[in-house]
Assembly symmetry: C2
Homo-oligomer: 329 residues x 2
DNA sequence: CTGTTAGCGCCTTCAT
DNA sequence: ATGAAGGCGCTAACAG
């Protein structure tokens, strides 16, 4: 059995309440003499506080839970770092749980492990909840905030980039370099994110006097495989001179598939990636990207949890980072 | 306030004990009629069990905690998937907490958030604890197991590849291809892992009749930057025809730095990477690697937690995967 | 400054 | 098949 404050109390010859006080550093409520005794006893017994018990009585917790949709994503590490740093600055602890990317049952289980214990807030990274699971989340009396994902329904608190703008600027980067026939690869057509990026892409095209063509867009789930498939679908003779890819991984898929098709990047094909993670600088040529500020998303998420009443739909800025995959025509 | 079993009891007109029983599915102890009433009431109140309270009384938990050393690593995702799947198969939940890679204080805080609440076991991914923090961990009455890291001290439960063998086989892969002057890059010289890989590397060299040279090894912390630095230290004219890199990220660093030095891979320089994550197939040329079985490490870790008395030092098999960075001389 | 008392939400004998 | 009672480890009044 682990030692409890009662054990300490007995050993130190004081009451449990006193032990609780010195262990909680309520300095106004005990003298130095007892403090000594108590701390010595605690040390000798190898005492570890049972936080669950403490949280049960105080009705509050200092842990924030992060629900992540899949182990595969790599941008999540930046968001998590932002969360971690900001949480630490506020004396908060962070725990992470993985939910399946689509499986509603896995999603539900992840939510439950988080909801069924005392957490002060929940951050959901790029998670698309089923209506049932959303109800579950809202039923819990816990502040929450979606990160890196936005909704048509304006009531859900979220922090994300402006997806329309992302699509627009990515496309414009190519347009400015003189490209006219531009593809959009591995962006999904179901989600808010995908639809807005598509809309931004089309607007940019139209603003430049280019009429979007249906076969220029090859939807997909933002993965490496989706990028490869999209590029394979275009083929070597599509006439496209530029492609906007839905994520860094997708961009690498496009890049590698281009190579397999005998296309050189950026000579034969220019690529603009969306996300701007470290991946962009690991591959050759380095990917020009519309970079999101994931770190700030995480940081803002924590702050949002701290003041749940504030403005709920936040937008983080993006910027285009020119590297090596856009050729000026 | 969230609803409690008392609220349900009142609404359903039964006692809290009965509510507890039907909610826990103790089917032998209640009739279908009451079950109906209770479940209806629970649903209406949006009841969520307070797991912390339940764990407080039952003195056990079904969550296993994973401590990860940094957000940057990418092999951890495979281990976590292995953990996740195996845990789910046993009805266990998984939470993850990040500890700083070296900062002892961050390490300590991560450990505490995990130790100070009821978890049935702790898995530590590639974590090197300070003696104090190790004592802390051992002081907690919780089973634990280190993953992807081994120790000279044979008493600590751990599951990892045989690092000597990793070093040996990586080097041998190059040797077999006819290389003689072979570097070892971005392996640290302090840890068990690093020292054993180094020893394996030297043994392979000697077994092939090659005398290791001091300037063939450029230690580092397994990172992309370390890989780049190691290669930069070798320079373009080292005479090395092959390099073993300490991790996939390090290998990519070596690869990119080689390119900057004007060396073509594998024509001028062959590379064998250690880890074998998906990264190997994303870069060009694809990295030949000594691949570790991270998924199984995670799975075995969960099993180890379940039977803490069994054999404590386990080794998972490795295999070399030939891709495109080793040229046969 | 310190001890006593009560109770957080839940589970579990022990009766009935 | 169900209720009453006690207690898990801790903290928060309330007395003193």
């Amino acid at each position: 059995m682990a030692a409890t404050i009662k054990d300490i109390a007995r050993l130190a010859g004081v009451s449990p309440a006193t032990v609780s006080r010195v262990l909680a550093n309520k300095t106004a409520f005990y003298g130095p003499a007892t403090a000594q005794k108590v701390q010595a006893a605690a040390l000798k017994l190898g005492y570890r506080k049972n936080t669950a018990a403490a949280e049960l009585v105080t009705q509050r917790s200092n842990v924030i839970a992060v629900v992540v949709n899949s182990v595969k994503t790599n941008f999540s590490s930046q968001i998590i770092t932002g969360i971690q740093d900001t949480a630490a600055a506020h004396g908060l602890n962070v725990i992470i749980v993985y939910a399946g990317i689509v499986d509603p049952e896995a999603q539900r289980k992840a939510l439950l492990t988080v909801i069924e214990r005392p957490v002060m807030g929940i951050l959901l990274l790029s998670i698309n909840l089923t209506p049932e699971n959303l109800a579950l989340l809202q039923g819990a009396q816990t502040p929450y905030c979606f990160l890196s994902i936005a909704f048509d329904d304006g009531d859900l608190p979220s922090i994300a980039s402006d997806d329309w703008q992302v699509g627009y600027e990515a496309t414009q980067t190519l347009l400015k370099a003189g490209h006219r026939k531009i593809g959009l690869a591995a962006v999904d057509s179901d989600s808010h994110t995908g639809r807005f990026r598509l809309a931004g892409y089309e607007s940019a095209l139209r603003d430049a006097g280019v009429t979007p063509q249906a076969d220029w867009v090859q939807p997909g789930v933002y993965s490496y495989a989706a990028g490869r498939e999209a590029m394979a679908a275009y083929g070597a003779t599509s006439g496209l001179t530029g492609v906007v890819a839905g994520s860094d991984m997708a961009a690498i898929g496009v890049l590698n598939q281009s190579r397999d098709l005998g296309l050189r990047v950026p000579n034969d094909l220019s690529i603009v990636s969306i996300d701007g993670t470290e991946m962009c600088e690991l591959v050759q040529p380095q990917l020009t990207s519309v970079s999101q500020n994931f770190y700030d998303m995480g940081a803002a998420g924590v702050r949002q949890l701290l003041e749940p009443d504030k403005q709920s739909q936040q937008v983080t800025p993006i910027r285009v980072v020119d590297r090596q995959t856009v050729r000026v025509l």
